[in-house]
């Protein structure tokens, strides 16, 4: 099972090397609206609200602040 998982990961990484764009094709990707976290405080507030109301948290990154709300 582990070797299958490893093979899948390697295949995905190998696949990555054939994807992508040239530097002059980044016009749309460079837009603010195409950032993976396009709205700084929308994401921040959402994480804070749901952290205090749900049992799951995290996933997007590490290094958030602590809170006594959960």
């Amino acid at each position: 099972m582990k070797s299958v998982y490893l093979l899948v990961c390697l295949a995905l990484l190998a696949g990555c090397s054939s994807m992508g764009v040239e530097p002059w094709e980044r016009d749309l990707l460079a837009k603010d609206s195409m950032q993976l976290v396009p709205d700084y405080f929308d994401s921040f507030y959402d994480d804070h609200i749901y952290f205090s109301k749900e049992a799951s948290s995290g996933g997007k990154g590490v290094g958030g602040g602590g809170c006594g709300c959960n």
Binding site: L13, C16, S17, M19, G20, V21, E22, P23, W24, E25, R26, D27, L28, L29, A30, K31, D32, S33, M34, Q35, L36, V37, P38, D39, Y40, F41, D42, S43, F44, Y45, D46, D47, H48, I49, Y50, K53, E54, A55, S56, S57, G58, G59, K60, G61, V62, G63, G64, G65, G66, C67, G68, C69, N70
Partner: protein, 432 residues
């Protein structure tokens, strides 16, 4: 020059793993960017209300290095469920300090109305380019509130490959949190006592530590699509109870709160919750953005699991619909979780609690915190964004959150109520 700017922007995009970048005003050709926001959060039925002003200032030190600072203040008030459930009789509880009491009417879910707090949180991130393809981000988070203090450090390394179309990220974070519960730290599974009696407490403060690790890959798929996949693993060690949460002790014959026959004077038929002192958390997170002609769609999915028995699925969808000089962005979020292994509606006298001594005999851990229950949360929102000039933008966001708590197997009249909440948010961003 234009290419350089675009490269800078894409580099920022790929590092938004860290949640520290990606702000709407983070243009590569400006030295300063400022985001300000105000959030109002209000729950229905007189429960929690919160106001949260916030400011984020980013400063570009040179082409690749930057500093980001964030300050957030939360002002909270209102009432929150204390963990005991509704019954057919009125119920009286002691406030956490022991200096007061409150009574909940028959048929109503007990809410602790002493809940109020002010929290200030400061975050700082320093992005340092190591070379053209790699960078490191050092983070510091400090927050304080009346009964809680948190100090966190983080480091994240990101490296670009494949003509900057692939970014691999690895990060580590450590938090040390201290809680000083009002009235002291309750003794787990010991009873709440009536006002005037000695509280069952075992000290004034407790701590916990959080260690988190992340690895992730961000990939430009084509000119219109970018994707990200993260795996995070976290360990929490130390005090993880909510010191203000209780469980009802019920006489199975009458179905009403009851104390043991030899209970000490002043004991009430409620015990303080008890959670394990370690927790291992995992999540897989997928995030993508795609341009559709002019509009942009954002979609993310998270699968979470931990050794408390909680698994959850989170789906999040945003569609940015471009208008002539502004945009509308509907938002849908769906979240479902299973209950923690130790989540329990109440404890029964006789089987769970010794009917003579009042000692909890059936389990080491128990909580009726609704946040550990099986539940589904749905969110519907709409945002309107209006660029005011080339360098500034105003946005207004409204959301409605509905949280449905599973009441499977719960007797009629004792159900945990659903939660409704409204979110209103104002953003103003500028750069120069």
């Amino acid at each position: 020059m234009q290419l350089k700017n675009i490269k800078g922007k894409v580099s920022l995009a790929t590092c938004s793993l860290l949640q520290m970048t990606g702000t709407a005003t983070q243009a590569a050709d400006s030295d300063w960017n400022v985001d300000t926001a105000f959030l109002y959060y209000g729950e229905s039925d007189g429960r929690v209300q919160a106001a949260e002003p916030a400011i984020h200032v980013g400063h570009k030190l040179n082409d690749d290095d930057r500093i980001d600072l964030r300050l957030v203040v939360d002002v909270l008030t209102g009432a929150t469920p204390n963990g005991a459930h509704a019954t057919s009789v009125a119920q009286t509880f002691t406030t956490p300090s022991g200096n007061g009491s409150y009574t909940t009417n028959a048929g109503e879910t007990p809410l602790d109305s002493t809940f109020h707090d002010t929290r200030a949180a400061l975050g700082a991130d320093w992005t340092i380019a190591l070379d053209r393809e790699s960078k490191i981000i050092l983070g510091l988070n400090v927050s304080g509130e009346y009964d809680y203090f948190s100090l966190g450090l983080s480091t994240t390394y990101a490296r670009d490959f494949n003509n900057r179309n692939t970014t691999l990220t690895a990060g580590i974070a450590y938090n040390n949190d201290t809680i000083n519960p009002v009235g002291g730290v309750p003794i787990e599974l010991d009873p709440m006592v009536a006002q005037g009696f000695t509280l069952n407490r075992r000290g004034s403060s407790e701590t916990k530590t959080l260690s988190d690790f992340i690895i992730g890959v961000t990939q430009v798929i084509d000119r219109k699509t970018i994707m990200q996949l993260n795996y995070t693993y976290g360990m929490t060690d130390g005090y993880q109870n909510d010191p203000y949460k209780l469980l009802s002790v019920i006489d199975p014959t009458t179905g009403l709160p009851a104390t043991a026959s030899a209970a000490a004077a002043g004991d009430l038929p409620y015990v303080y919750e008890s959670r394990p002192d370690s927790r291992q958390r995992n999540s897989l997170y997928f995030n993508t953005a795609r341009t559709l002609t002019e509009d942009v769609i954002h979609f993310s999915y998270r699968y979470y699991w931990d050794d408390w028995g909680i698994t959850s699925h989170t789906l999040d969808l945003k569609y940015r619909y471009e208008l002539k000089n502004s945009y509308l962005q509907p938002h849908l979020r769906y979240y479902s979780q299973d209950a923690a292994d130790f989540y329990i509606h109440d404890l029964k006298l006789g089987s769970d609690v010794d009917a003579t001594t009042g000692e909890v005999i059936s389990r080491q851990y128990a909580s009726n915190d609704y946040r550990l229950a099986k539940s589904v949360t749905t969110t519907v929102g709409l945002k309107y964004g209006l660029p005011l000039s080339k360098n500034s933008e105003f946005a207004l966001r409204g959301e409605y959150i509905q949280q449905a708590i599973s009441n499977d197997g719960v007797p009629a009249g004792e159900e945990t109520p659903d939660l409704g909440a409204m979110v209103l948010q104002l953003n103003y961003s500028m750069l120069w």
